[in-house]
């Protein structure tokens, strides 16, 4: 028998074997290990004695951990606010871009792309400078334009517990609205022109055209873009951690930040593992739910 035949018959497992081994060793095994750890009270600060505690970590998380529930609320607040603004703004920008051909379109698209691809830590640094309460340009602009009073006096941005999440959301909007816009632009480019032509003949207004023709046709694409954002928004880490580390106090501590602190600040591995399992279930649950809802609506 020729070697080539053997290859052909076994290609179905030979080809993906490298990736599968990697996934088993660095994803599945660690996941199992985390689930196992979540039933223990392992903590580096308590020495190496590890006890099996059953569901105690989970019970503590759900019934006694205010910090957990606070972080869940903030995660939802952050994600909801960011998603709504990003989707609306992204679709608007895409429609504007699609409406006309103008010189400099390529440059404008490049600039949006740059915001999205720039290293998040570097982006966080420049926003720290922009938000700086005394020397920052943002407060200067508000002061010099007289809009300061409109926003209620001193703008502390990320240093005040009431404005920290909207301020962080602003950065997320800056960073990720381009993704929605680019996806929708690509989607708009694939639409057929016929419905538009007949609508023009019938004398439809631009608003009617947008809401009756464009939006229904582009809805599935917007759905996918929003889903991609949703998955990433729930996991936002870089910007929040670099700029506030969850502060002031706990006022910007999302679930991802809280889990990180429990893992690598307190080294409370058992409890952190249980938090990870809960976080994972939440993200996967929401993502899959939205995926199925979308599929259901499309049918």
């Amino acid at each position: 028998m020729r070697m080539g035949d053997w290859y052909d018959r076994n290609a179905f497992w030979l080809l993906p074997s490298g990736a599968v081994i990697f996934i088993l060793m660095l994803m599945i095994y660690p996941l199992g290990y985390t689930i196992y750890n979540s039933f223990t009270d392992w903590s580096l600060t308590h020495g190496d004695k590890v006890n099996f505690v059953g569901f105690r970590n989970y019970l503590d998380i759900f019934f006694r951990d205010d910090r957990f529930w606070g972080s869940v609320g903030r995660t939802i607040y952050f994600t909801g606010l960011a998603m709504v603004v990003e989707v609306i703004l992204g679709v608007l920008i895409a429609v504007l871009f699609d409406a006309k051909d103008f010189s400099g379109k390529r440059v404008a698209r490049s600039i949006m792309l740059m915001a999205m691809m720039a290293t998040p830590v570097a982006v966080a640094m420049v926003w720290l400078l922009i938000f700086e309460p005394t020397a920052g340009v943002l407060n200067y602009l508000f002061k010099s334009s007289g809009l300061e009073a409109l926003l209620g006096g001193k703008q502390l941005w990320i240093t005040d517990s009431s404005s920290v999440i909207p301020s962080l959301v602003l950065i997320d909007i800056w960073e990720w609205t381009p993704l929605i816009a680019l996806i929708v632009i690509a989607g708009l480019a694939t639409l057929s022109r016929e419905p538009y032509e007949s609508a023009m003949v019938d004398g439809a207004t631009p608003f009617q055209i947008f809401f009756r023709i464009t939006l229904p046709m582009i809805a599935p694409t917007i759905g996918v873009a929003a889903l991609l954002r949703l998955i990433d928004c729930l996991k936002t880490f870089d910007i929040i951690y670099v700029m506030t580390m969850g502060g002031p106090g706990y006022s910007s501590e999302t679930l991802n930040i809280y889990t990180y602190q429990m893992s690598f600040q307190y080294f409370n591995f058992g409890y952190a593992s249980a938090l990870l399992v809960v976080f994972l279930c939440l993200v996967l649950g929401i993502s899959l739910l939205v995926t199925y809802l979308r599929r259901g609506l499309e049918l």
Binding site: L15, T119, V121, A122, V123, L129, Y260
Partner: protein
């Protein structure tokens, strides 16, 4: 939007159009500025002296200085961090392609739906879920602060992404092409290497570039797994602000230094980057 029906007529209509044009281009310019300004601000302040940075109103025209860049490169091991980042991003991208391309091809060829879902679900899982157990494992093997541990952890992002980009790409290759190769005596592997990979270069480039950039930008895995020997540039910059007095000029210079390579790659390969980022989202 307001057409002033009372004045409706050919001439006012022209005014209306001019007004709409101004509104249209004004909005576009505003949008572009919103996305450009923070990056411009980064560059501008990297070229200012410490005094100029905190000066209000901020000066837009000034004598630029490279002192901040000199400081960054002389007082810190910045070249070492750049080298570390290059090794880790390059290593994880290369490994991601070596493991991901055959897997993606197999999924497309054999319609391995379950394997595809398996790999793609890992795109949804929060990275920190893997980070804690990996940290414990690498700690047990004394592998924390080695290139290997960082490359492997960055692969958790890169590999699923490469598969995600490549599966639709391989699916779009006409089956006749494979069959023709078969007739000529190629087995699956030689077909893959000699025919499929060369004609899939745009896809490979897309997946490779983005996997490289994601690794270069990665912060969470690096801050946990990297220490003195393997510190990457994002971690190095983050450590700058732990000092009591923030040196804004140095910070901005460092931020510019690590962002510029990414932005240059992005602009040069814009077509591929956009294709990769929007992959799977747009039908047709």
């Amino acid at each position: 939007m307001d057409t002033h029906p009372a004045n409706a007529g050919p001439r006012p209509f022209l005014w209306h159009r001019t007004f709409m044009n101004i509104l249209y281009y004004g909005t576009i310019v505003l949008c572009v500025f919103f996305f450009l300004l923070p990056l411009l601000w980064m560059l501008l302040n990297a070229l200012k002296t410490p005094l100029q940075i905190v000066e209000l109103p901020p000066k837009l025209f000034f004598m630029p200085t490279l002192a901040n860049f000199e400081n960054v490169f002389s007082s810190q091991n910045f070249l070492q961090y750049i080298y570390n980042s290059l090794i880790i991003a390059g290593g994880s991208t290369l490994l991601g392609l070596v493991l991901g391309l055959p897997a993606a091809f197999s999924i497309a060829l054999h319609k391995q739906k379950k394997l595809a879902v398996f790999i793609l679900v890992s795109r949804m899982v929060p990275g920190i879920t893997f980070l804690l157990p990996l940290f414990i494992m690498f700690r047990n093997f004394r592998m924390v602060d080695t290139y290997t541990s960082l490359i492997l952890s960055h692969l958790l992002v890169g590999l699923p992404f490469i598969v995600w980009v490549m599966v639709p790409f391989f699916e779009s290759i006409p089956r006749d092409l494979m069959d023709a190769a078969r007739v000529d005596g190629c087995n699956v592997f030689s077909t893959f290497i000699r025919i499929i990979i060369p004609i899939s270069m745009p896809g490979v480039v897309t997946g490779g570039i983005l996997s490289f950039i994601f690794s270069w930008n990665n912060f969470m895995f690096s801050i946990v797994l990297a220490s003195n020997r393997t510190k990457t540039v994002p971690v190095a910059i983050f450590n700058f602000i732990s000092y009591a007095q923030i040196d804004w000029g140095g910070l901005m210079a460092a931020a510019v230094t690590i962002t510029v390579p990414v932005l240059v790659i992005t602009i040069l390969t814009q077509k591929y980057v956009i294709r990769g980022l929007t992959a799977g989202a747009v039908k047709g």
